[in-house]
Subunit: 377 residues, 2 copies
Amino acid sequence: MASTTAARSWPSRPRNHTRQGAVHDTAGREAVSGPLVIAVDAMGGDQAPDVVIKGLALARDRHPEVHYRLYGDEGRVGPLLRAHRALEDVCTLHHTTEVVSSEDKPSQAVRGGRKSSLWLSINSVKQGEAAGVVSAGNTGAFMAMSKLIMRTLPGIDRPAIATVLPTLKGDCVMLDLGANAECDTKNLVDFAIMGEVFARTVLALDRPTVGLMNIGSEAGKGTDTEREAAARLSDSALPIDFYGFVEGDDLAKGTVDVIVTDGFTGNVMLKAVEGTAKLYAQFLRNAYSSSTLAKLGYMLSRPALEKVKARTDPRRYNGAMLLGLTGVAVKSHGGTDALGFANAVCVAIDLVRQGFNETIKGEFGKVHGPAPAPVAS
Amino acid sequence: MASTTAARSWPSRPRNHTRQGAVHDTAGREAVSGPLVIAVDAMGGDQAPDVVIKGLALARDRHPEVHYRLYGDEGRVGPLLRAHRALEDVCTLHHTTEVVSSEDKPSQAVRGGRKSSLWLSINSVKQGEAAGVVSAGNTGAFMAMSKLIMRTLPGIDRPAIATVLPTLKGDCVMLDLGANAECDTKNLVDFAIMGEVFARTVLALDRPTVGLMNIGSEAGKGTDTEREAAARLSDSALPIDFYGFVEGDDLAKGTVDVIVTDGFTGNVMLKAVEGTAKLYAQFLRNAYSSSTLAKLGYMLSRPALEKVKARTDPRRYNGAMLLGLTGVAVKSHGGTDALGFANAVCVAIDLVRQGFNETIKGEFGKVHGPAPAPVAS
């Protein structure tokens, strides 16, 4: 795992054939050699642009060869950048004063925010100027703009929000976490393929197992959509090691490497898990500060407890990926700090480096035959 | 909160007008005074009948006036009962050797288990011989049999599984936790009313707030069903303090007293939360045993940590209630111990004592007008 000062980056087991130094355009072709470029919405998030710049500085420690296209107010970003000379050397700053606020509805943002830092940063991926985009801004606007600008990869109807979560056995990637409130059978099957590819290419797992969230493991439980999706995923023609149904507690147990669910269930589940983690942390803090003896006990156990904190630190899992679009798009929590933002940037870098989109196109080509005309998302 | 040896019982604030000593028949009329009787499936659960009998002995400490009708194999239950004389005095044992196994499908159990301890204990409520039933056995069979035997109260289409969970601010009751994989708008509204009545009558909260689970708090998010349910719940003619939409992390925050969701989402969420709690407990155990210093620190902090453990101990929240039927039905976790089973029994006792079903009938009468013909569930 990463040190406490640098951002965590996947994969945990480094791969030999990372395509370092290549820029991937939206069609996935490896361009003439040049640095990997990530577009960044410098104005998105509760403490932008400060946290953004500090986060990029941390990311640069880990990936010194990556370049960034920053979009935002020169008057505010410029001075911060100039205070980080090493980072300034790998950044280009593209000025705009227009921003999408956290209260803006997605439709408002899409209609009126064509000059916003959010729109411009996403659009630069479409234009082939960057391989991926990272923002900590308005989630709904980020998703709406990304889907509109970047479109889905061939064979995919809907993109899904995915993130990696800690489990008893390591990590698990879960999707969809909120991009689609309702999903049909094909959506779930697509998510399973995307999740499996992610686990294989980015987490470097040899044969990741895929589970489908359901209530009760008997085949008859849950809805028709789950049953049909399970039937399709069990088809041995699919390049997936399908475990079968899993239940809510299988996430923490680490029963499978990939968990697939509809966006409503996934979003509620993710937030409930995060809320429970915070609740327990609060209960523990209360306990430790409740008496002198307890405080003393805490000080003695502290080194051991810090490891737990590192293992479960949400900042090390910050960076939800919007999988299935023609470009890499990663959304950071709005309230994260520099370490968390740096993690989100590293997630984007890894997705590009490990050729996630290229592999997805290959897999969907195999599963669905020759790529059909791109579906408007 | 309860001591560590006795089971926890609601309400946390005792009410003056508990109808102690009354038996409530299935029509809700208070019978001629006599002890409150609870039917118990003595053979349900991983360690039945041992855990059942020990659990009842603990429950008796808390509620010495309650009587029990036990259903199970006299050859196995009898000796255990005779080892608990005080308990034996308040029990009648009804012999049957037939049991529903944990592998039986609900439909199989319903068809072939008419002489099982599970069926007979539920049926005794229907017959007016007991006011409520408790089982730690096969959940699917318990639900199927309860719905078939007891039917829903007037105005209610579907019963819901509800349980109380710990939050930062106290407790929260959540439903549906798995009785209905798919719900329509009326189901969600019904659940809201039932949850509010529970919080008011059993948890003794003056004006409980009710939240509807959704993804994102913007009105436009989620599905039509959520939006329509929210619209109906906002109607001031309904006797509900409707907070609005809540998200997954609002459970732990204790934002509202009652959370309503469909059974699929609720089940996944509940299990995910339980899984996360176990994960954290495991991480902490690993940390505390990782070094001598950490062990020493644990010993010093232990009294404070034991309070956290008590606050979050799943045994103190054991006992999922099937709300909306003509009788009280409570399902204990199959793997619980005596303390957990005792808690489930106390939940049933409280539901009967606080007149939950009677209040529900009154509320639904107000909301839907004169009670329609009972709907077959």
